[in-house]
Every structure is written in C-alpha cells, then in structure tokens.
Amino acid sequence: MPAHALPDESSDLPGSFAPGIHALQAPSMPDVVRRFRWVAADIGATAFGLYTLGPAVERTRLVACFDSDYPGVSAFTRALSDGPAGEIARHARASTQPCWWAEGPAAGAQAAFQTLAWARPVAQPVPGTAGIAFPVHADRGHCGLAIFIGADIALDDNGLCDVHARCFSLFGAVARLRLNEPGHHRAMSKRELECLRLTANGYTSEEIARALKLSVHTANQYLTQSAQKLNAVSRTQAVAKALRLGLIE
C-alpha cells in the first residue's frame, strides 16, 4: 500500500490548505505569516522564520522576511542574520533538499530527523537549537529558506514533501508581494528585455536589429537604457545582472 494513498490528515486541520488548492491569490504579509504559523503548528515547531538569501555568492547573509515574533524580530533571527550564513546558505543555492540540525548528538530531535530519507544533516546555524530548513525558490531568481525550530518536530517522508510544498507556495506569495512594492526597481520595458535576451543568446546589435525589425541605433539605445536601469557599466554586466535577477532566463 503506497503511503500517498492515505488521507492527508494535515489538510483537515483548521486553516491549512492542500497544495492543490491555491488560496493565496492576493494575500497580505500578515496572511502569509498566519498561514506559516499553521504549518509550524502542524509539525510541532516552536518557532519559525522565512528568510531570503542575499545577492552575494560568497559570505551570503540571510535576510528575514518575517519570523514567529512578527511584526517583531526573534532572538533566533538576530543570531542567524548576525553574520554570513555559511553552510546552510550554500546548501540552499545548490540543492532543494531539506536539511536539519540537532542540539547535540544525543538529542531527541535527531532521532526523528534521521528517519527522513530525503533530508540531510547540516551544521548548526545557531548554537543550542534544533530545527529543519527548507530551501525555497520563486520566479525571477528569488531564493530563500523556510526554517522551523523546535526539539519535538515530527515529520515523515510524505509530510516533509507536503510542508515543503506549502513553504514554496508561501514564499512565492512573499516574492509577489515584494514585486508589487512601489519603487522596488525601475520597470524594464518589453523591448529592452527582448534585446537583453537576444544579447545573452549571442546576437550582435545588427542581428537584434534585423530580428526585431529595428534600426541598429534603436537596438543599441534599448541596450544602453537597460544597462542604465540595471546599474550596469557594460552590456555584458547588464546580461549577467538580468540573469541573476531572473529578468531573462
């Protein structure tokens, strides 16, 4: 009997939602935090936090979107965002596997986490805690970590997938909320993005002009404008920045 045929008991709990029913069309930040609190309650976590990864590849910092003390900031978040996040942030960039850590070698939480086939152990990001972190991704290259803290977190392999799906969905909602914040970035026009995309695919200005039926000057103008909007010094850097921001694929 495959385990997935069993009814998903977490979806019967108040306020939780099956990943298939997307109830987050236009949520506000407090809505997202509330939903996150339900996820934490479902798995028996005492604290939680959602973090985005800073842009630096080396010595990445974790920036809190919110944590269990919302609208305040928890001590865990303060300890976590104090310095570079180290192994846990490197892991999130390279892998989607959840990772866990325990208080000490003999802690009870470790036994529960060790039965998880898909999760792997990671170095303690904050001393004296036990928890599990789910790497999450959203459009435009947003990368983050959903972290649950607690010595008595209970999860099985299917529960792990379900919680991770909910984290993905909530992180997507946060990323969309941020996108709508005014003045976040100067909007790129469709033509500018098109020119950047073709440049990334090896087109020269002349070839772009031919493909888009523009004059060479116009194509160059679009590329100059997009480089300015991205704060880039050259079109090569503009391509790199646009790729990092997920503006082009």
Binding site: H4, S95, D139, S169, N201, A240, E249
Partner: protein
C-alpha cells in the same frame, strides 16, 4: 557533494523492489536515477516521464532531454521545440502550485501550445494527458513531464509529492543534470576571468585584479568562449551562468 566516479554505472537497486524513498539514500548513478523515476511514475499512475532542461537557442527555446522513457519515435516526430513548449507551457506548475493536466484530446480547442495534428499524434502515441511540473534544483530550473495513456489516471495529490521528491533526487545527483560538456573543461583562471567580466570589469581591470597582462586575460576569455561555443562575451557569460559555472 557526492560523485559517482568510483562506482560502476549500473543500477544499485532494481525498481521493482524499492519505493522511491528507499532509493533516496542510494542515488548515485545514472541507473539509480532511471530506477527512481520509473518507480515514481508508477507510484502516481503515470506511464511516461520525461526530464527536460530548456536551452535558449536563437529566438525560441529548445529542449535538452536529461532522462525519459518516451519512445524514440515520439520524440523525433513531435520535435524538441514542441517538447520545450510543453515543458514551459501555461499549465506548468511550480512547486506548491496546483498542477493542471494538458488533455491532448481537448488541447487544440483550448488554444494551448499544440496544434490539432500534434495533439492527435501525442494521443495516438500514448500521451492522452500530460502534466508539466517545474523542478527547482538549487538555483537551476528543470521540467518534468508525466503522462498517461488514459486521461485521469494520474493521482494529483501524489503528483506534488513526486515533484518535490524529483527536486530532492536531482539535488543529490547534480552531476547528472548539468551540461557537463562545458563545465569540466573550463580552467580555474578562465572561470575567474569570466566572473570578473560578468561583474562589469574591463579587460584591463581584470588584468590588474588577477595580476597578469591584458593579453593573457583576453586569451583566457577567448579560450573560455571557444569551450562554451559562444560567439561573443555576453553569450559566454550567459552560458556560464545558466550552467552554474559562475
């Protein structure tokens, strides 16, 4: 990171005996990945799977098929461009989002990505319903197509779990997913030069940073461009970034 260089390329477990979760601990080789995907497809009631990386080429994207149990003729008949379009179609579900099937019998009417002729072909060849799932493997993005001969046979709740388990499995075996042709051959110096160029540095600036002459920097970049089969610097940077080299 695990490498499988020391292991023989064979299945260390047979698909019939183990569930995907048990296979998780042993994923190391290409054969293990196949066994895992076959078992995963069987578990959710799908007949076929196809793991696709989309490759931007010229104006439209193309598909690089990483793993698949589709018959060869189907792939040849419908073509890689259509596969790329299916993978990145309007129904494609990101993790945590609801997955909607592409029913090939109704596809042309719905104004989808396939024409009537292509839909009929897919239907006849055993892909009556197709689910397209987006896989986030670290910062890399891939696509999975699960399809069944009979519409309605794929279990939708299992699908979300299968989607995440695929992400996990591919995270464990990154060497099987990336386009290794380019990655292995770039030298550390070439990679470094590309990185600084992507940060907007000019040749002269890179030369100062690395403590070599500008001619040497240009030669590193030219070599890197050849290895990445890029025609100019922006394309070399883009290819390197897409493959996770810088």
């Amino acid at each position: 990171m695990r490498t499988d260089s020391g292991l023989p390329e064979k299945m260390t477990a047979t698909a019939a005996q183990l569930c995907p979760d048990t296979l998780a601990t042993r994923l190391a080789s290409r054969g293990d990945l196949t066994a895992f995907l076959m078992q995963l497809a069987a578990e959710i009631g799908a007949d076929s799977y196809m793991l696709v990386a989309t490759v931007p080429s010229q104006a439209r994207s193309n598909a690089r098929i990483v793993a698949s149990n589709w018959i060869f003729d189907t792939i040849e008949l419908i073509g890689r461009r259509l596969i790329a379009a299916l993978a990145q179609g309007p129904h494609t579900a990101a993790p945590g989002m609801p997955a909607l099937p592409l029913l090939t019998a109704e596809a042309p009417a719905a104004g989808g990505v396939v024409t009537g002729e292509e839909a009929r072909l897919l239907d006849v060849l055993g892909h009556a319903e197709i689910y397209a799932l987006q896989l986030d493997v670290g910062r890399q993005r891939l696509f999975m197509l699960f399809s069944a001969e009979k519409a309605g046979s794929i279990d939708q709740t299992g699908l979300t779990r299968a989607q995440l388990k695929s992400c996990y499995a591919l995270s464990q075996t990154p060497q099987l997913v990336t386009d290794t042709a380019a990655q292995d051959t770039l030298s550390e110096r070439e990679r470094e030069c590309l990185f600084w160029v992507s940060e907007g540095k000019t040749t002269d600036e890179v030369a100062v940073i690395l403590g070599v002459s500008a001619n040497t920097v240009n030669s590193y970049i030219t070599h890197a461009m050849q290895k990445l089969s890029a025609s100019n610097r922006p394309m070399a940077i883009a290819t390197a970034m897409r493959n996770g080299i810088i």
